[in-house]
């Protein structure tokens, strides 16, 4: 039982050790949503390269988002968050109209302009979401066929020729990334362009991104870059900016594809504190095992007792 539990929870241990000399540095994405312009080039490049089929949801009315979420047919998804905010964020001036705020400003002294989000009472956030390639990936834990595996780059990939469509991984993902493709029946998701990586090329979405909102590279280096960018933004007064999925101690051991967000993850429809859904499995297995033993002992005892 204990060896089984180890296999379930310590998949991270499978990489890089199991690859030996073939192991590569862990590769990932840093998606800086502060410079995402919502062009959806990532969605298109991904579909083009990976032959992901079209998926018509019609006019959804959700801002400019007609993709809605990640699934088997959408491996990149640009979220559009259109919100009206209080016209002023600084305390008792909250009731001022925009015109009043503008009038209040000392124009001669103020060479700068407040960011639009603060100034106009309206914000339109854009963010390109993708599979997080978790350090502790529950999808990988629960896959009975080994179709899901961790590559030499530390990424999590579904092998289409092995997936049997059982769907165990679908509810296992804390982000709802995985789904089955109709009518195919199998599960499809972002591979971090495994084929391109093996040819020393960056993933299609990162290459297509015109503003470098999607950055690809060695995860450790991306972390450094992200910290520096965050510092820069916070110094510029964007105090609600934060990194999401950059910390190795979070519920999934950090993401291979992490983000810089301008507000709480919930604003973007992301779980604030994701947890690998298989985290409690060892405990559950242990309890189940203990219960089973106890039950067996009890039954045996009863049987023995009954013969008495």
């Amino acid at each position: 039982m204990s060896s089984n539990a180890k296999l379930l929870t310590l998949d991270a241990g499978a990489w890089p050790d199991t690859y030996g000399e073939m192991a590569k540095p862990r590769m990932g994405f840093f998606t800086d949503t502060s410079i995402c312009i919502g062009c959806k080039a990532c969605e298109v490049a991904c579909k083009e390269w990976n032959h992901v089929p079209e998926d018509f949801k019609g006019f959804t009315g959700k801002s400019y988002d007609n993709t809605l979420h990640l699934d088997a047919d959408n491996w990149r998804h640009v979220a559009f968050i259109e919100q009206r905010l209080p016209a002023a964020l600084d305390g008792d001036t909250a009731t001022e109209s925009l015109v009043q705020i503008a009038a209040r400003r000392e124009l001669e002294e103020d060479s700068g302009l407040d960011t639009l989000q603060e100034g106009e009472g309206l914000r339109w956030l854009m963010a390109s979401d993708v599979c997080k390639h978790c350090s502790h990936a529950a999808c990988l834990d629960v896959c009975p066929t080994g179709a899901l595996f961790r590559t030499e780059y530390g990424t999590v990939v579904v092998q289409a020729d092995i997936c049997n469509g059982c769907g165990y991984c679908v509810p296992a993902c804390p982000f709802g990334v995985l789904s089955k493709r109709k009518p195919d029946g199998r599960v499809w998701k972002c591979t971090l362009c495994y084929d391109r990586l093996r040819d020393d090329k960056e993933p299609a979405c990162a290459q297509a991104c015109p503003t470098n909102s999607i950055q690809y590279g060695e995860l450790t280096e991306l972390h450094e870059r992200a910290e520096a960018r965050l510092q820069e933004m916070q110094d510029a007064g964007q105090t609600s900016a934060r990194l999401y999925g950059a910390h190795p101690d979070d519920g999934v051991g950090g993401f291979g594809a992490f983000f810089l967000l301008l507000d709480e993850p919930e604003v973007y429809g992301l779980p604030p504190d994701p947890v690998v859904t298989t985290r409690d499995l060892p405990g559950i297995w242990a309890s189940t095992g203990a219960a089973a033993v106890a039950l067996a002992v009890g039954i045996a005892a009863a049987c023995i007792g009954g013969r008495r």
Partner: protein, 879 residues
Amino acid sequence: MPGLGTSFGRGGATTFQQDLQNSDVIVIQGSNMAECHPVGFQWVMEAKQRGAKVIHVDPRFTRTSAMADLHVPIRAGTDIAFLGGIVNYIIENERWFDEYVKHYTNATTIVDEGFRDTEDLDGFFSGWDPETGQYDISTWSYAGTEEHTAGGHKEQGAAVSGEQAHGAHGMKLDRGRPPKEDETMQHPRCVFQILKRHYSRYTPELVEEVCGIPKETFLQVAETLCQNSGRERTGAFCYAVGWTQHTVGVQYIRTAGIIQLLLGNIGRPGGGILALRGHANIQGSTDIPTLFNILPGYLPMPHPQAGPDLDTWVGNTSPRTGAWGDMRNYAVSLLKAWFGDAATGENDFCFGLLPRIDADHSHYAAINRMLDGKCPGFFVVGENPVVGSANGRMQRFALANLEWLVVRDVQLIETATFWKDSREIETGELKTEEIGTEVFFMPAASHTEKDGSFTNTQRLLQWHWKAVEPEGDARSELQWTFDLGRRVRRKLAGSTEPRDRALLNLTWNYTTQGPHDEPDAQEVLQEIGGRHADGSFVEKYQDLKNDGSTSCGSWIHAGVYKGGVNQAARKKPHTEQNWVAPEWGWAWPANRHIIYNRASADPSGKPWSERKKYVWWDEEQQKWTGYDDPDFVPDKPPDYQPKKNDIGLDALRGDSPFIIQADGRGWLYAPAGLMDGPMPTHYEPHESPATNPLYTQQQNPLRQRFNRPENPYNPTDPEPGWDVFPYVVTTYRLTEHHTAGGMSRTVPILSQLQPELFCEISPELAAERGIEHGDWATIVTSRTAIEARANVTDRVKPLRVEGRTIHQVGLPYHWGPGGIVKGDTANDLFPLVLDPNVHIQEVKAATCDILPGRRPRGPDVLRLVEDYKRRAGVKVVGE
């Protein structure tokens, strides 16, 4: 674009997108750059990350606004009031860059005493002739010039306007100087004082009243712009068709030109005006034009009154001084490129074989002739006018009145299928079996299937190589056009008719290769780039001669094949050269990336500041040097003075950066070159819910109207019935689609991203009309009614204009009856009414009504529109 051409000399962007990273402020207006030019927008983001301020002025809050520091909602069609307000702010508050303005612009020039301003004549400049509806522009000239209207303007008239005004860069000036100047800029008739008076009523209060922009917001923009201009700082303007597609579009761009000249932002890094083009090769298709009224390199097309000989035409259309002073060199070299050995000095280099234009032959004029049954055939290449052009109904009725129609496209677009799927079939106005038009659809090769070049938004030629052969019957434009020419010439072989000489004398002998007999595209580029008589390639346009010893298909491209190297195909990575990247592709002219860059140095040739260093005079080497190719005579010292009777570039002083202009200066005031005035003036759009508060003259008096039953106009305020169409309607594009949709509505993975036509309206308007978000809405004008999904959003704001609330309706125009995702066509709503200079349609501002629910089907929609027209009292000539 004559807005840029008359201001600075050339009709191209003055800068390049990469240079935006050096800007301290970027004003994006009339453009949705993040959505329509996402790749170039990275440089705006670079600048912003560096601390530059980004301002977006637009009726809607778009993806560009979301990235900007400030979004300024504006009433569509009022940009001159806004920009004129900035001009007034600069002058009133003495914020202009004095040394730049005095030396590099025509601010000091004294204007003819007969000139009268719109301020004096209630919306008209002097010279208005109500009989012809045109201006006699003689009083607009510089005082003391012998010949009031040199340069193209002898031939200027309603029929022959616009781009050929590029040949009109001034008048005959001795030593490149205007006869009368006032260095102090105090003379009441000097350009500066005229400008000051002209814009004195464009106050922040007026801006608020006209544009619906709160005074404080306007002041914030004006002040930010001023603070980020000068010796140490520079600002840039970016515009696109949000400025051009108006009845005063050219003058919008002129106003930005005035601002940038006053602030000293032209010819300097981080400055400039970036004309963002609508397609990958729009710049290229005006440089080597698909337009009816210019020849390659912006040489004017001759008119019947141009006279039979070359020299009369050259004399009439070019000034003696400035780069156009050498026009005969360019013209003769062009004729040699086209007619080869047949062009000789004895026969005027076949000048007589060039066609003469006797009238407006632009797209819309041609459509009108088709409707009148006077134009039997039509080639449509790389265009989908029944979706992309104004008044789609009119377009379709015109096509149905042809004998034959040839459509070449990569997809089977609606222009080729109008006879079966247009809305007029549904309404019963057209019947398939009664349409006599014979339609030929010719499948076209895409850019990956042919060699060639794109000239992008910044005049940069980038070569692309064929990756695969085109499939099936698809062929490149080059192959098809070449083959068509060969076939026609075969038919004409042996003809002695004078009219056939032009075709028979053409050099039409490119080498062909490959399975489809594809002409060698590089041979075409070689012809464009120019050769000496011995076959060697010319280096630069200064090499061109007027005696027939050089040939050059487009003088502005001279040198694109210098040294026998396809300069446009160079692809040296930016990491291996300076930030200007001169070895990536090739920019006309002479691979200059920022043009007029002599202005990046002060009159004595020193950089204005270390921070804004670009091109400067090297005293030791006695030549201009810097990061870019100097847009100047390379060894002309800053203190150079021309001698009497010097011509061409020799006639311009060493401190004259605008070398195309006869006086070498940027034109705050354009004495020639534009049909509708030397200075931009606020006129309301042709259809508007507001009254022009400045003049009794409501709209641009020269706008081109087409009074016919297919083209009714909504009444405009203050005419009775205007309030039947109380809302402003404007069109635009989305990142997810390409223009008229031929290349995106046919692609599933693009179509899914924006699958349906929607209209963007404010919550307030939705409440006023009872429209629910996500439901259908019907938009009505006197042309037609269309349906769209309602996208009710805070991103569209109602504006306070003249004490009333004005609502605006936004419509992307990508849809039509064909393709994977179908929808009504927004351009069907718009009337045909044009800018007088370039014949461009006003589809960025008109009026409409909006209703909840879907539009009526079949002929019922006609009844709905008729009812509206009756209520509004719409009168149509000929009905």
